[in-house]
């Protein structure tokens, strides 16, 4: 299981090392807009070339514990969710079988939280791994 938190691929993000933030920035040809630090965590905010605002949250151990996105277009979730992407896909397919909801996604699947909302031309969402959130930090900081 732990390998999924530290994928060897350089494209890791959620669950990956903070160096993947820079990998994301380069792969997405994005601009680093802002770095915000608190005692317990740091936020990198980047702007994708399609205008999506992406935030990546990491703690003192350098592990990305949360990501968020907001923009006119959908982000590259394989990139953002890294080693969690396959788990995400399976969870979405399970959720569809319960009650289809086209405009909203609410995944709480064995250590992965993904919430997304929007419609054609407007997408926003958050994802985090509760067991990676630094102690003393509320998951609600991921927004």
């Amino acid at each position: 299981m732990s390998t999924s938190f530290w994928p060897s691929s350089a494209s890791a993000s959620l669950g990956g090392p903070v160096s993947s933030v820079e990998t994301d920035r380069v792969q997405m040809k994005s601009a680093l807009v802002r770095i915000a630090r608190s005692d317990a965590f740091t936020v990198h905010e980047i702007q994708s070339p399609t205008g999506v605002t992406i935030r990546e949250y990491y703690g003192p151990n350098g592990v990305v514990f949360g990501v968020s996105w907001d923009g006119e277009f959908a982000p590259d979730l394989r990139q953002l969710l890294g080693g969690y992407f396959t788990q995400y896909q399976n969870a979405v397919q399970t959720a569809r079988r319960v009650r289809k909801a086209r405009s909203r996604l609410d995944i709480n699947d064995n250590g992965l939280i993904v919430r997304a909302t929007g419609h054609n031309r407007s997408f926003s969402g958050i994802a985090y791994a509760p067991n990676l959130v630094p102690s003393g930090v509320s998951p609600s900081v991921v927004r």
Binding site: K29, E72, A101, R115, S122
Partner: protein
Amino acid sequence: MPRLLFLGSLLLIAQATSSPQCDNSSANGTVNTAPIVVNGGPTNNSFNEPFTSVTVCVPGTSNCQTIGGILVDTGSSGLRVLSSALTLPLPQQTGAGGAPVVECLPFVDGFTWGPVSIADVQMAGERAASVPIQVIGLDTFGTVPSGCSSQGPAEETQIDLVANGVLGIGSFIQDCGRGCTLTGSSNPALYYACPTPTSCQVTAQPLANQVQNPVALFSSDNNGVAIQLPAVAAGGQPSVAGTLIFGIGTQSNNALGSARVLTLNSRGNITTTFNGQSYPNSFVDSGSNGIFFLDSAASGLPECKSSTGFYCPPTTRTFSATQVGANGVSVAVTFAAGNVDAANSTFSAFGEATGRNPGSFDWGLPFLYGRTFFSAIEGRSTPGGVGPYWAY
């Protein structure tokens, strides 16, 4: 039992639409009403989803096919049809070098992948010529590019889609807009040119070639739509029938009257204020099957045990919120939250369906029950001003 109810609702539609069809010869004389029904849809298990029929034709011919079970969706733009529901040989759109154009359209919970075809689209007495539409689930382009599959899982079957297709009649004309006309990394990668089925590359797609809202291409009644649905009884109903009306202020049956106009921001959203908090990415969406807002802690509503993501209060509760347009017009709205798990499982319409959505308010179909809801298309003139806006 569900089959009988379905037949019953068809009879209701026939009654409901016969009189407006006789009456509305006033302005341009075009029959502009199509029946819609919330009845469980083609899979007989959908919930708070409105369906209609759409006729597609080989362009310029009377070789046509009517497809039922098409979701009426104000949250997207353009017609999408499952290849399994389509029997008509529609021409493929081609791009640079004659390569077929194939689209990857992201939804919040996945994407639709399939070729752009050209069809004349007919609803009621309206006809749009040579409309780019998307055909979903065709094996011909079975290799989905990784840039598309990175959006999540595909929606390519009737079970995935819970419909035979989606009729996107949202406030945008195209499903992508200017972004898809660009080259390089600024292009959001919705359109691909596929010289062979396994060599698809992102392509710049001119606005006129993008999959688009067929209403915007009608020769009349092309500035928007109105959706009329009856109020749903407390506790739900097996089905309800309503009307999709084309045009705003173009005929005697689609006047705005006293409806208040809330203009939309550049992403097609309004703001909702609730308990002093402001939620700027809020929207009205006929394709959402509940009113989705906040979380259990903020709403005080417990989550359902079985209907994941919905709220299940022991007794129905009433809330009020305010919708605020980009033009500053604000309207106070009340809505009810009932127990989704306790609703009769054979009921397709339940006006008290609410659920979680921490970042914004998604005003889904329950908001439309008991209203006439207008959605004006971007850049189009109406008696209520230029779109995009919502009015009710």
